[in-house]
Amino acid sequence: MTQMTSAGKPAQPSGFRQWVLQPKVQKWLVIISFSLIPLILLFVFTYLPFGKMIQFSLFDRSYTKVRGFVGLKNYARIFTKKEYFGAMLLSLYYMGGALVQLVLALLFATMLSFKTKGGNFFKGAMFFPYLINGIAIGFIFKFFFTRGYVLDTLLGAIGFNKENLPYWLRDQSINNISLVGTSVWKHMGQNMVMFIGAIMSVDATLYEAAQIDGANRWQQFKYIILPSIKTIVVLNVILSITGSLSAFEPPYVIMGGGASGTATYFIKMHQTAHVDQKVGMACAMAVILMIIIIIATLLQKLIFKYVIKDGTDSKAKKPRGGVY
């Protein structure tokens, strides 16, 4: 806060004060003092690690020891070794889950944007899981899925034979679906709230006009609601790709670090770096994750540009800085 005193308080000799109070000097003082910290943070925590990541990915190394330059071998191993590639394929489960989640979110957002008795309660109940700590969710569902506990009790109550139910977490053919279910449970409400926000931003007179013209609910959904929220739907589809590669807490807590074939790509990366100490390998995994995300982002931009051509996109108006 030294800049405040130098600009605002008259303690300095008057010549210096005159100089500081000149608009041009003042302007640069403000610019430098206000943007210095964010720029340092940006450099130290984004661009520096970004550069290092690419550099490290070409080496066989731990945090402290460099064992030699290996070129692109780390990358080749990700695509050929089952332990790495399998983790990547695992995210297909999470993408599938994300799709289910979007459909549910869209369904409930549409329902709740019409007049609903107790709408606030339903909305709140479905949204609240999003606010819960990931570790807490891990414990909640470890308990939920354990043999003979909550889920089995509920299914027993509606007539399933408890003896025939699978082991939700131990059975390798089903445990990833259980974990994806946990992730859907957490994030569905958040998507729903975003969709409701988008639907609510539509001019209410449109619905009235549609009703007068005799449009039914499906037509209202198709012609009014869907166009108004397709931007945010596409955005969420793309985000789900990133999210599914970086799923971390549910498998980490529930399965104790990704046991029984539940280690997602991010868990695998974490283990490679911090348990196996293969930092070069982990960096190569990170670079690939980044490339996938950049492709997804570009895809999103292209879709916005060529497929969805509505002028309501928020990015349309952006007066660039420059007032003084």
């Binding site: 984004t46 479905m126 609240f128 009790t153 970086s246 770096a273």
Partner: protein, 294 residues
């Protein structure tokens, strides 16, 4: 008003239309109730178990109500033996400092980028824009190396700095908000003899309140629930346990005593529940604002 309109529409329907309208209504409320139930059951089951004694937990079915609804002994156990009190203090301190820093840093940079033309303005914007493409999660490995060479491992300050980090979303939210604050405000303040610093701190900063609330909520929820970095960088768990790492450590001492662990889980989500109930509207609108940025 609206209800009356609906009734008119309902009266004017034919019998067939009326039946399908009722069916749609039934399916709608059934689905809403079912999914609200699914959303709440896992949490409720935790509350039930948290109120049971060890013997009760071992002998009764999990979904059976506890014998004594006021048995808070498990909560006492986690608070004392699990050192949850200390973890809460640490977490709240981190949240408050990080949120305050994010608001200050974000609004200051947004002010500079929105109100001044200068060579480099577009460059700074592009640098931040490109940073959104690089997922923070992918850089964990090298960030760890940088943190350790800066001696910031096992340091609360280091963790706080990392959480402030590159926070593009709040910068965007503030820039958007500045675009809607008229320049007349600045101009009249300057005519009254304000410096640029004065314009920001005395005139504009207090007006940023709605944007601040959004940033505080988005950031506050994220930081309170953060586990990955807390686990990695605050390794001395006896001194620097946050709520997430304290809770995770329950896997050790409390092993399979789910009644005790559940009490910890409920304690952890209590602050969130209180904030959710009191600030529901702000949370919903904050999420929407964060989403528009993309």
């Amino acid at each position: 008003m609206a209800a009356k309109k609906k009734n008119d529409a309902y009266v004017s329907m034919t019998a067939g239309q009326r039946a399908s309208w009722l069916a749609v209504g039934f399916v709608k409320y059934f689905m809403l109730a079912l999914f609200s139930f699914i959303a709440l059951v896992p949490i409720v089951s935790c509350v039930l178990v948290a109120l049971k004694t060890d013997e009760e937990y071992a002998l009764t079915p999990v979904m059976q109500a506890p014998a004594n609804w006021l048995n808070f002994s498990n909560f006492k156990t986690v608070w004392v033996d699990g050192e949850m009190g200390r973890a809460f203090l640490t977490s709240f301190a981190v949240v408050i400092v990080v949120v305050a820093c994010s608001v200050l840093i974000g609004s200051m940079l947004a002010f500079v980028l929105n109100r001044f033309t200068f060579p480099g303005n577009n460059l700074i914007r592009s640098l931040f824009l490109f940073a959104t493409l690089i997922p923070g999660i992918a850089m964990q490995v090298t960030v760890y190396q940088i943190m350790s060479s800066l001696n910031l491992i096992n340091s609360l300050v280091g963790y706080i700095i990392l959480q402030c980090g590159t926070d593009v979303i709040s910068i965007y939210i503030f820039i958007q908000y500045f675009e809607n604050l008229p320049i007349d405000l600045d101009e009249s303040a300057i005519l009254d003899g304000c410096t640029y610093f004065g314009v920001f701190f005395k005139i504009l900063f207090p007006l940023l309140q709605p944007a601040m609330v959004t940033v505080m909520i988005l950031k506050g929820i994220g930081v309170y629930n953060e586990y990955y970095n807390a686990n990695l960088y605050l390794q001395d768990k006896t001194r620097y346990a946050t709520i997430s790492t304290a809770l995770y450590s329950f896997t050790g001492p409390f092993g399979n005593r789910y009644n005790v662990i559940s009490a910890g889980v409920i304690l952890t989500l209590l602050p969130m529940l209180i904030i959710f109930i009191t600030c529901q509207r702000f949370i919903y609108s904050g999420l929407a604002a964060g989403a528009v940025k993309g």
